[in-house]
Symmetry: C2
Amino acid sequence: MNTQEYMIALGQQARQAASQMASADTGQKNRALLAMAAALDAARPRLEQANAEDMQAGRAKGLDAAMLDRLELTSARIDNMIEGLHQVAALADPIGGITGMNYRPSGIQVGKMRVPLGVIGIIYESRPNVTAEAASLCIKSGNATILRGGSEALKSNQAIAECIISGLREAGLPETAVQVVATTDREAVGQLISMPDYVDVIVPRGGKGLIERIAKDARVPVIKHLDGVCHVYIDRAADKVKAINIALNAKTHRYGTCNTMETLLVHNEQASAVLPDLAERYQASGVELRGCPETLKLLPLIKAADESDWSTEYLAPVLAIKVVSSLEQAIQHINQYGSHHTDAIVTESYTDARVFLRAVDSSSVIVNASTRFADGFEYGLGAEIGISTDKIHARGPVGLEGLTSEKYVVLGDGHVRQ
Amino acid sequence: MNTQEYMIALGQQARQAASQMASADTGQKNRALLAMAAALDAARPRLEQANAEDMQAGRAKGLDAAMLDRLELTSARIDNMIEGLHQVAALADPIGGITGMNYRPSGIQVGKMRVPLGVIGIIYESRPNVTAEAASLCIKSGNATILRGGSEALKSNQAIAECIISGLREAGLPETAVQVVATTDREAVGQLISMPDYVDVIVPRGGKGLIERIAKDARVPVIKHLDGVCHVYIDRAADKVKAINIALNAKTHRYGTCNTMETLLVHNEQASAVLPDLAERYQASGVELRGCPETLKLLPLIKAADESDWSTEYLAPVLAIKVVSSLEQAIQHINQYGSHHTDAIVTESYTDARVFLRAVDSSSVIVNASTRFADGFEYGLGAEIGISTDKIHARGPVGLEGLTSEKYVVLGDGHVRQ
C-alpha cells in the first residue's frame, strides 16, 4: 500500500467511526477518557522508553535545544496529559443539546441540535502530549480524528496512541475513532488535507510556515491560527497604575505566546506620564524598546521603530511603541497593522471603552485587562484545541464547541406545506 | 485597467466600506433599506426598460424559456423586491449583540459580541431580483458586498444597483458598501474568489456545476449548497394518514426545489398498507415511480430503480421508492446516499423519533412534517441568503446570522494574568 492508499484507508475508517461516535452517549465517551488516563499512567515506562528513543534520534539528527525541549515527555508532562484527560471528561457534553425550540405560525416546532463535525484532521509538530490532548477533545465532541504528529515524535506518539486505543476499546467505542498516522512520509499531509470525502476539517498547530502552507493547499476547511500581533492602547482617560500594570503584564508575563503584546499605543496626553516609568521597568526586565518619532522625544536612548515593526510578531523581549493623537487613530492602527488576534484598551472612559469594543476587529477585544487572558482556560472553555484568527466558523480560543456544528430539528404532527 | 486590476480596486473599496458598515447603527441601516425600496418604486420605468433590453439580448442569444423566465423582471417581481427590503428592515439587527457575559474566577468578565464577517462576494446566475435581496441581507448584517450576477442580466442588475446606491447615499452609508461587478469578463469570478485580503467569504447561488467549480477554485471560504437528495421515511410505527399526506406534499408541492423529496423509504410492515394508495395518487399527479425489488412486488407496473437512482436529485416529477426492513437500515441509507440536506421520518414511536433525530446527519432532520418546510422563512429566519449543505460555519437555511461571526469581549478593572 502506498502513502496515498494508506491515507485513504485511514479516511474511510475514520468516516465509519465518526457515525458511531456521533451517537455515542456521554457516559461512554467519559469512560473512554478515564480509561485512557489510567492506561497512560500504567504505561509510563513504555512511554518513557519510546520518548527516549525519539530524543536520541533527535539529538543524532541535530535538532536544536528548543525542539528537543518540546519533544521531551517528562514525568510532569505525562502527569499533565493524565490530568487533561480527567478535565475533558469533567466538561459538559456539547453534543445533542437542543436550543431555540420554538413554534412557528405553521404549527411546526423548529430548533437546533448540536452535532459533531465528523472527521477532524490534526497536524502538529514536535510536542507528543498534543496527541492525547487533541484526541480527548475530538472524542468528547463526538468526532473521529486522524492525528499527524511530527516525524521526530513518531515513537512517542505511537506509544500514546496505544493507550488511547485501549481506552476506546474498554468503553466499547470504535478503535479507529482516533488514528495516528504511522508513516513519516510527507505526502501523508498532502493527502490528509485533500480528502473532502473523508475529512471535514483540518486543524494545523505549529509554526506559521506550516499553517500557511496547509491553508493554501487544503481542499477542506481549515481552522487556523496565524499571527498574534497584539496591542495595548493606553487611552487619554487611562488610569496610570492600571495602564502600567497591564502594559507590563501583557509584554513580560511570557514572551513567546501569541497573546503577548507586540506594540504599545499611547495617547499623546498620557505619553509623558507613563512612558518614562514604563520604559525603566521594561528595561529592567531586559525588553528592547523601539519607538516612533514622538516616543523617541520622550525616550531618546531607545531604537527607532521602522514601518515593519508595526506588523511584526516578535515572540521575544522586544516591544514597539507608538504615540497616537486620538482613540480613532489607535483603532485604525490596530485594524490596519494588527493580526486581528487580541487587543486591549486601558481607559476609565465609558464612551471610549464602548467605541473600542465595537470598532476593533479582533477575535478578543479587552477593556482594562491584560491581553494574556486570551486563552480557552481563562475564558472558561475548559480546554482549547487552538486559537482561531479566522472569522468563519470559530474565532478566538476554540474549545469543544468549535469542533461541532448545529443541525435544524423540526417537530410536526403531520404538517404539510400549504 | 484590466479585469484583475478592476476587481482588486472593487475589493479595496469594499474592505474600506466594510469597516464603516461594521460601526453603522441599526437606524441608519434600516433607513438605507427603506430608501432603496422607495428608489426601486420610483425607478420602475427605468428597471423595466433595462430588463427589456436584457430580455431582447437573451432572446437573440437563444436563451431557453426557463432562463428567460428567471431573467424577467415583472411588475410583481419588482413588488417582491420592494416588499423584501421592507421585511429585512423590520428584522432584528444581529450586530453588536452580546451573549454569555459571565465572571471568571480571575475576576474578568467574558462574553461574545456578534460582528459582521466583513466583505461577502455573491455570485449568482440570471435572476436580477437576487441583486436587491442579497444586498439587503449584507447591509443589515453590517457587511460590504461585491455582487457578480449573470452576464445576461447585466443591465437589469445595474439599474437595481443604482437604486441601492442611492439608498446608501441617502442614509449616509458608503456607496461602495454594495458594488455590482460591471464587466461580463469571466475572469472577474476567478479574481473575486482569489482575494483573501479583500473578500472574507463567497456565497455562490445557482446550478451545481457553477457551485462545484467555485468551491474547487476558491481561495476564501465558501458557503455553499450542492445537492438536495431528500428523503421521507415511513416508519413501522407511522400513522397512515400522516404518512400519505407528508409523502405527497414532500414530492408534489413543488418539483424543482432543493427540499423536495427524491427518495421515499418505507418500512416493510407498512409497505402494503401505504404504497398502493400512494402510488395511485402520485400517478394521478403525473409522478413517475421507480422502485426497488420489494417495491416492484407491490407495484409491478412501475419502473425498476437502479443504483444511481438512490443518489439522484431529479428536480422533476420522478420518485425513487425503497422498502427497508428497519429504522437502522433507513438511517444508513439516508446517511450513505442522501446529500445531508433535509430528511424526515413519519412515526408515532417516541423512541424511533429520538433515534432518527440524533443519527441522521443532515442540515434539517424532521419528524412528522414535510421536507418542504426546510426554508429560512418557514424556520423564522425572516430572510435567507441560501441553504448550506456544509457543516462548517453555517448549516441549513442561512439568514442574517450566517453572515456574521462573534468576537470575545473581555471587561476587567486593571486585571493582569498571574
